[in-house]
Symmetry: C3
Subunit: 222 residues, 3 copies
């Protein structure tokens, strides 16, 4: 196992750990067994990047680095051992989780650019890298994905992507676009959490919306 | 943005709009936030074609054309602005939705043929292109996919695919297979809706079916 | 349709049949229509291998062999015709299902090795090939995937993969690693079923775990 610990790698691993913890804990809340909890933790951590790589037509990133598998195992052990204390660490996790979101977004965006995708596609790929793992996690535990209903999450990725784009327009030197974009994602995410900012929800039409079914004029009651 | 408005493109965009509308409305019924509703609308519209492209090993079709992203945004705005009137337009939407189903099916089938797949695989790919978006939408909003339980939907795609196949067997000229197949899908779909035709459902065995679990002989009650 | 009936192929088809039966029966329990039941059966049977092939960047295996489509159709017919007697055959199905699990795991592992993946990635790919179809089935019928909560299932695939790995380390001749690995999966699976062995479940923290949401200190009741 190659342990090339640059700062990006370290932050990437911290984010992986935080994402895996969130998957393991939600799986535990549903009484999944140890293996199930491990799988959900792993999918939460690497699912977004895997979906991106499948769309870009490259092999999933985790297949060339055992670290993600090992970090997920550590996260599982961590939850088992410190079960009762994990809750108290929540605010730490939110911070780590935000770091992961920022780093994943930028890594995803840059991999997509390297694969010759356009900027707007890359912003979407960054967003998928950051946010799709949590979405897959919620599908696995059979819940409506939280990112669609609460807080600002994926939107932070989009804003970070736009910051990246503006930096490149302004010919920002070297690593600056990446750093500014990641910091933006993290700050937006943490501010949204701190002040409880969320997007307005779209109110339904107060009746069952069934697609593909002509509405009867004479329907009464139900 | 290239706006090459041939008739196929126009019909493709109309179908995209109708599919996105159905995603946004169902997301609204679940109180998704604006971003969540947008994502569900987008996935409903492009999910089937994306799954097809991932299987064929080509890049998702929407990455080369911003139109799908923009049309989904328009669909979201449309639902927000005309919320109360959207219901009255239902019969229009069913018509548009059927157009989308027909066009998506044929586009998917032909892309698969162009990727050197056999005819029967291409018929399946056409079916996935037309029907999988709605299936993904239902998974995202945590409902049992409607296409598995109601009406004739994906079956219309299969019938259209068979018509395409027969046309090629008969050496039909040029665009005729595509046109006949799309029209078949649309007509079958609209007739099924109008007359409430659906496939028989498979009745369960009236007990919990748990896979992989040997049945105890002495089990009583529950 | 090429009917190259080697022993591996025969066992592969038996496994496909058993997997498809489990999909069709669970779809029937949810009152899916005939087409929906067919799709769920097909996805249960080929979903794991398809996911593997999409990750490996090759075309889904079933696109080069109609057999899987036809076997699923036979499974559907079988359930329709023998509906009342299917239950009595349960113990036969568990046996077939275990055979499928063993064969799928080894086939997946070897295809991954042939695609130049490392051994540990191939073990994961074998596990996905064997177990992901059942997971997708449960997502389609909107249930929490059983493999995450009950019995030893995917873990049997992992153990089989490790046996394969040990055999190659010991320079086992020819087909021996494949045979030993498949037999291991089958035996582990059947023993786990017979003796009701399962992994311990991870107990939740006895409260709603909502990710990404800072915990309020003063929260009371709910």
């Amino acid at each position: 196992m190659e342990m090339n610990l640059t700062l990006t790698t370290l932050l990437d691993y911290i984010g992986t750990f935080a994402f895996a913890i969130s998957g393991v804990r939600l799986a535990a809340a549903k009484n999944f067994d140890l293996f199930g909890a491990y799988v959900v933790g792993f999918v939460t951590a690497v699912g977004g990047g895997t979906l991106r790589d499948m769309m870009l037509g490259v092999r999933p990133f985790w297949t060339t680095n055992e670290a993600y598998l090992i970090i997920t195992a550590i996260a599982l052990l961590f939850v088992i051992i410190f079960r009762k204390h994990v809750v108290k660490l929540d605010n730490t996790f939110y911070f780590f989780d935000a770091i992961g979101l920022g780093v994943f977004t930028v890594v995803g965006l840059e991999r997509s650019l390297m694969a010759d995708q356009s900027m707007w596609v890359s912003i979407i790929m960054g967003c998928i890298t950051g946010a799709a793992g949590g979405m897959l996690r919620d599908i696995f535990i059979n819940e409506v994905p939280l990112i669609f209903r609460k807080d600002i999450y994926a939107v932070a990725c989009v804003i970070g992507g736009l910051v990246y784009y503006c930096c490149t327009l302004l010919d920002a030197p070297q690593a600056l676009p990446a750093i500014l974009a990641a910091v933006t994602v993290i700050v937006v995410r943490l501010l949204a959490l701190k002040y409880g900012i969320s997007l307005p929800s779209l109110k339904g039409e107060n009746e069952d919306v069934e697609p593909w079914r002509p509405r009867r004029r004479d329907k009464r009651g139900r």
